[in-house]
């Protein structure tokens, strides 16, 4: 299995590869999504404490996990692009960011709707919610900075610096969850109920996590192809591929 990975480091060669990869992620995403929703609504039992409201978990947790995970991946690709001056790495980061931001929004939205019937409030300033909100701001900042700079190279590098600085922030934010527990006993509600979950609930949730994961990759691949098209629009190879 000696694939020359560097062969795909150029936008020109990655473009068709990405195109072939898209269905391999989007189709499983849809299938897994359907399976996960089926399990979530028809197999998993009603929760003894929260009733049917808990079923939001099948979206909320996958979205939240993806929001964090995608940010780390964005920082990774952006950092790679910054360090090695590879355009495609930066493009991959830009392609992932909007999906990550939307995942963060979904996590916040579903979390709020879940909190209303269970905690009695739409929002609470506990460490976990606040850090998720900060994450949304980080995404928006990253995308805004990249959009505000006209020169693509400078935009790539500047937004990469920002993404990396944001990564430093994230452990601080999550570390604060422990501090919060010592400073404000009982103020933070533990959202992680995996150990005490019924098996079907857990399985349904995990299936949805993989569905969201596959979806994110698929969408990012579509978006990176569009980015390649936009940036390389003056090059002959693209015109040949898509033009005629």
């Amino acid at each position: 299995m000696s694939i020359n990975w560097f062969k795909y480091a150029s936008p020109q060669s990655f473009y068709p590869l990405a195109g072939r990869m898209v269905p391999w992620f989007m189709v499983p995403a849809a299938v897994l999504g359907l399976i996960g929703l089926y399990i979530g609504f028809f197999v998993a039992p009603t929760d003894s404490q929260q009733g049917e409201a808990y079923r939001i978990i099948f979206i909320h947790v996958p979205a939240a996990w993806m929001s964090m995970f995608i940010y780390m991946v964005v920082a990774f690709w952006a950092g790679l692009g910054l360090a090695f001056n590879t355009r495609l790495s930066s493009m991959m980061a830009h392609a992932l960011a909007p999906t990550g931001a939307l995942m963060t929004f979904v996590a916040l939205w579903t979390g709020s709707l879940w909190g209303r019937p269970t905690w009695g409030t739409w929002w609470v300033w506990d460490a976990r919610l606040t850090s998720e909100l900060i994450l949304l701001f980080l995404y928006i900042g990253y995308m805004s900075l990249a959009a505000a700079i006209d020169d693509p190279r400078r935009a790539d590098k500047a937004s990469a610096v920002l993404a990396l600085v944001g990564v430093v922030n994230v452990p601080i934010i999550y570390f604060s969850v422990q501090w919060w527990n010592t400073l404000h006993q009982g103020a933070s509600v533990s959202i992680s109920r995996a150990p005490s979950m019924a098996a079907t609930m857990l399985i349904g949730m995990l299936v949805m996590v993989f569905a969201f994961w596959a979806y994110s990759i698929g969408v990012a691949l579509i978006r990176v192809r569009l980015l390649i098209m936009e940036r390389e629009r003056n090059s002959a190879w693209l015109r040949e591929t898509e033009g005629v």
Binding site: T130, L145, A158, V161, V165, V168
Partner: protein, 214 residues
């Protein structure tokens, strides 16, 4: 850095504007919210800290902006002196002209909110540790957005997620003292943030400056 301070002294109006903005904003709250002591004491940490954030954000454009506009920044970048040193000098100048005055005047403002003496002390300490962090983190935002359209608003947007934890622990420290539960934990975290910012921010800002100056 001496040069920056000299410029700051000459453009005293800039420095004082930010300072008075801070004072006025903070002083408006008792007027707007009413003289109910309990309320004032509750909102005081947040109000003062948010004002500190705003003051820091407003003055960020000045950190590199004027030098960038007249080309001095590029010349400074060409000197054999490492860019990191330049950044640290700029940050120090920014803090001395925006952060330090806030630290000094905050206890007086805290009295307007009927904060007890030990809370005033915590307030000063939290600002003393926190405002340098604001300057350090602000330098990253300022250096990334040099000459970019959207300017100050974009800088504030970028810097906001980084500022929020500082705000939370800074205001939280004072609030903890007011309620009696002790600010030690909060101040320690603030201190940790300062350490981390001291290590990472100048380096990130220098990198950003190099990118912006290309």
């Amino acid at each position: 850095m001496a040069r920056d301070l000299l410029i700051a002294l000459r453009h005293r109006s800039d420095v004082l504007t930010t300072f008075f903005f801070f004072v006025i904003v903070v002083s408006l709250y008792p007027l707007g919210v009413g003289p109910e002591r309990e309320t004032l004491r509750e909102i005081a940490p947040g109000v003062i800290w948010v004002a500190a954030l705003l003051a820091a954000m407003l003055s960020l454009a000045r950190m590199f902006g004027t030098d960038y506009a007249d080309g001095t920044l590029e010349q400074l970048a060409l000197t054999p002196q490492p860019l990191v040193v330049l950044v640290i000098a700029k940050v120090a100048a920014h803090w001395l002209t925006t952060g330090l005055p806030l630290v000094l005047v905050a206890p007086v403002l805290g009295l307007q909110f009927d904060l007890p003496a030990d809370s005033l002390a915590t307030l000063s300490w939290s600002l003393l540790i926190g405002t340098p962090v604001l300057s350090l983190l602000g330098s990253v935002g300022a250096s990334l957005t040099l000459g970019v359209r959207g300017g100050a608003a974009l800088t504030s947007l970028l810097v906001l997620p980084l500022y929020v934890p500082v705000l939370i622990f800074g205001a939280g420290a004072v609030a903890a003292t007011v309620t009696g539960s002790g600010a030690h934990g909060h101040l320690t975290v603030l201190g940790a943030m300062l350490m981390i910012a001291l290590v990472f921010a100048p380096w990130a800002s220098a990198a950003a400056l190099r990118i912006s100056l290309e």
